[in-house]
């Protein structure tokens, strides 16, 4: 299925969970914040959250800033 991640289209296998997606990309969930279709996903929901075709993900983290 196709979905958008940080503005780019990606094809992933059906039924993938958010936690699974992050693991595949070597992203440590502890330092990330994820927004799915404009709604923030709490960290404790990452494993339960199943991704669907057409979903839009924003994966962000803190960086240096003023």
């Amino acid at each position: 299925m196709d979905m958008t991640v940080n503005g780019k289209t990606e094809t992933v296998k059906d039924g993938l969970t958010l936690a699974g997606y992050l693991a595949e990309r070597n992203l440590n969930p502890d330092s990330l914040v994820v927004e799915l279709n404009l709604v923030v996903v709490p960290r404790d929901q990452f494993t339960a959250c199943v991704l669907k075709d057409g979903d839009c993900l924003e994966i962000v983290r803190f960086v240096g800033g003023g």
């Binding site: 991640v5 940080n6 503005g7 990309r25 992203l27 440590n28 330092s31 990330l32 914040v33 994820v34 927004e35 404009l38 923030v40 996903v41 709490p42 960290r43 924003e58 994966i59 962000v60 983290r61 803190f62 960086v63 240096g64 800033g65 003023g66």
Partner: protein, 260 residues
């Protein structure tokens, strides 16, 4: 290191702090300098920004470098309007590092001056959602009043444009905010030298936020220490109550001579 004069409690956004210097974490040559800056200055509050993770690329995480006791003040940099600021704020809170948020709504890419109207709108929404809101604004009394009404935790007027290091160009307007607004006034942006931070504190500011002046210094750690001392000195001077500024009345043509 001793923070403040005994009896000068600094309570803000639901927390008790012992340092009135907030430090930014942007524009450092290396993020590894950040913990040393925090240590040498005594600062307990740092600002951070929220950005998209670069998927597939191995990037360092600034969070690794921040000591545990430090309070996070994420900013909404990148937001050009209230809706975007609100969205970023909610994401920031989801990181689980507290409910403080600095609202930065900037749609001016030349001077990076903030949009007071959008900032006030975002403040009202986020305050209702339980955030401790720290809005960054031009030193405008009317905008500041609307922020008080909106439930902000403080007001953060700029001293001069971000990154300019030009000091307290807006000092008269900041003075008015200090006199008129019943919220902590935190001077943010444009402080270029420790003496300027000291001056802001002497005027009665509650705190200063310094980023560029430290990160762009030849020796950021030493400069951070200097800023820490400057903020403490300015605050002590303010509490001591400055003495009379000498003004001699002219003896000729007295205005009250008629009283005899």
């Amino acid at each position: 290191m001793t923070g403040m004069t005994t009896g000068d409690a600094f309570e803000i956004g639901g927390k008790k702090l012992t340092s009135r210097l907030f430090t930014g974490t942007g524009k450092y040559s290396s993020d590894t300098l950040i913990p040393a800056v925090i240590d040498s200055s005594g600062s307990q509050v740092i600002t951070v920004a929220l950005r998209r993770v670069d998927i597939g690329a191995e990037t360092d995480n600034v969070m690794k470098h921040i000591p545990k006791h430090v309070v996070f003040l994420p900013n909404t940099s990148g937001a050009r309007n209230a809706d975007e600021a609100v969205r970023i704020a909610r994401l920031a809170r989801a990181a689980g590092c507290g409910n403080w948020i600095k609202i930065e709504v900037i749609s001016d890419s030349v001077y990076l001056l903030p949009d007071g109207y959008e900032t006030a709108k975002a403040t009202e929404i986020l305050a209702k959602e339980g955030f401790e809101v720290f809005p960054y604004i031009n030193p405008d009394l009317m905008v500041a009043r609307s922020l008080v009404n909106a439930g902000a935790a403080a007001v953060m007027p700029l001293g001069s444009p971000i990154g300019s290091n030009r000091g307290l160009r807006t000092r008269e307007m900041i003075r008015i905010l200090i006199d008129e607004i019943p919220l902590p006034i935190i001077v943010d942006a444009g402080i270029g030298r420790p003496s300027q931070a000291c001056e802001a504190m002497e005027m009665g500011a509650a705190a200063c936020l310094v980023n560029t002046a430290i990160s762009s210094a030849g020796d950021p750690v030493a400069m951070a220490a200097a800023f820490g001392e400057a903020v403490r000195a300015g605050r002590k001077a303010y509490l001591a109550g400055p003495g009379a500024v000498g003004e001699k009345a002219s003896a000729s043509s007295p205005l009250t001579g008629f009283l005899g």
